[in-house]
Symmetry: C2
Subunit: 285 residues, 2 copies
């Protein structure tokens, strides 16, 4: 239906010889009004741009990456569009939805919730994998070539979206991802509420589990992790992912960056390496 | 006195092969506890670094530039330290100090107030020009080579600090500066409160007036201004500065950037040009 894909332009800002647009639209997947950002370098005027989808972490929205990652300059030079969705549906007020920073609003964990009341709107997995690219490709001068990356909860999101959809993305990377949410406090809290107490249901959204059970394409994983990240041992557990990859010979480049923390300063330091990784896979470098 | 220059390290964050440190210290100039940020690339281990002082605009503190300008990567490559002071003293509660975003806290206008109660602490000009460099040079591995830049109110600050102190800075630049504060609403509001109603006193802090009356060194001015800046005509008035420069043959490079606005996205697009301008003057490029 026409009205379902109507988008509203909230703002457009000139950055690095391109336009950063904030968009609002009604999502049929999350049954919510969703806000997102898309960066379109001027090279969009020449030919359809490949798209990097960036998934942000807990407490973030579509703006953090655009403001703080320092990514748009190289994206412009490469001719790479970047799309940043929000980190959860908004506009609802379920009991407890806004009470903690690691659950509910801004903490959708990029899964399809099965438990009430969350299942009504918290369908971020389907939104990111299916509805969002369709919306972007229908409304902006982009191609259907896609890559995906993200940070922390969004790093988890990038990994599971890529691992669950062979061929959908040309490349995947992550900064400080939650690699094994079934085995860490953030994940246990979110998954038990969104997916229920049956831990078998959690495996479908856990990168370590997906690596172990994957029988299809082995998309190489590029991961940067700061050694001074205060969430490293309790929440992020990169060694679990390393072991899972080694067990099935899944290609992994895990770079532990000495003295870097969990912040966007860390991301800004290494984002250009990730952009080049994706640009190579997308055929523009 | 020893205790007057004691500094407290609030945080240090690894960024682009350097350290971003937030510092707190008691200022004898502003009689306040001041917070500032200093970025020190690892090249500091080799030889003393020249310093770029960055003055931020209304509503900002020491963090905005560090988080949003995307400057630290090239600063690291160049071997350039960057110091970002706060935009006003803090910790006082004068009548009206916190009531508006364009006056009082976060709006010190880089001048020495003469009117009560502001004159007690709002001495940002002396703080930036004298106490701050002294503190930095005593506590960090930097040289006494200095340049200065800033945005909006801070662009005004950079221009007046450079124009009033021949030889003190090797170079000066500004983004979207308030060029003629005596003739715009922001400046009229601030100057009338900080300096009183006698407009002759305002001339000492007005770049256009300083250009007209300057008889000394003519430091070239590099200025970037977005054509879509919503404050352009009413507050910033780059044409007034252009006319002042032309009248006395003061070297000015005024770049009007089509479609760019007043935001840090604009700054992030052109900051590298400014860093190179300063690096050249400082002898590191």
């Amino acid at each position: 239906m026409e009205q379902d894909i109507a988008i509203e332009l909230l703002s457009q800002t000139r950055v690095s010889n391109g336009w950063l647009k904030r968009i609002s639209h009604h999502s049929t997947t999350t049954k919510s009004r969703m806000t997102l950002a898309i960066y379109l370098p001027d090279t969009a005027n020449d030919k359809p741009l490949p798209v990097l989808y960036w998934l942000s972490g807990l407490t973030c929205n579509d703006e953090n990456f655009c403001q703080k990652a320092g990514a748009l300059k190289l994206a412009s030079e490469l001719g790479l569009a970047i799309v940043c969705p929000d980190t959860s549906p908004r506009g609802t007020d379920y009991p407890g939805e806004h009470d903690s920073w690691d659950f509910g609003s801004a903490a959708g964990f990029y899964l399809n919730a099965t438990q009430a009341p969350w299942s009504e709107t918290y369908q971020m997995y389907d939104y990111v994998v299916t509805e969002l690219p369709s919306l972007i490709e229908q409304n902006f001068p982009v191609s259907d070539l896609k890559s995906i990356s993200g940070h922390s909860m969004g790093g988890h999101g990038a990994l599971i979206c890529a691992l669950k959809n062979p061929g959908h993305y040309r490349s995947v990377s992550a900064f400080s991802p939650v690699t094994n949410p079934s085995q860490c406090p953030w994940g246990e809290k979110a998954f038990s509420h969104y997916l229920g107490s049956n831990k078998q249901a959690w495996e479908a959204y856990d990168a370590c589990e997906l690596i172990r059970t994957s029988l299809t394409e082995r998309l190489p994983l590029l991961i940067d992790q700061g050694s001074a990240d205060s969430f490293l041992d309790v929440q992020l557990k990169p060694d679990n992912l390393k072991q899972a990859c080694e067990a099935v010979n899944h290609p992994l480049t895990l770079r532990v960056q000495p003295e870097y923390d969990h912040s966007y300063y860390f991301i800004s330091t290494f984002i250009d390496d990730h952009l080049k990784h994706h640009a190579t896979a997308l055929g523009i470098l």
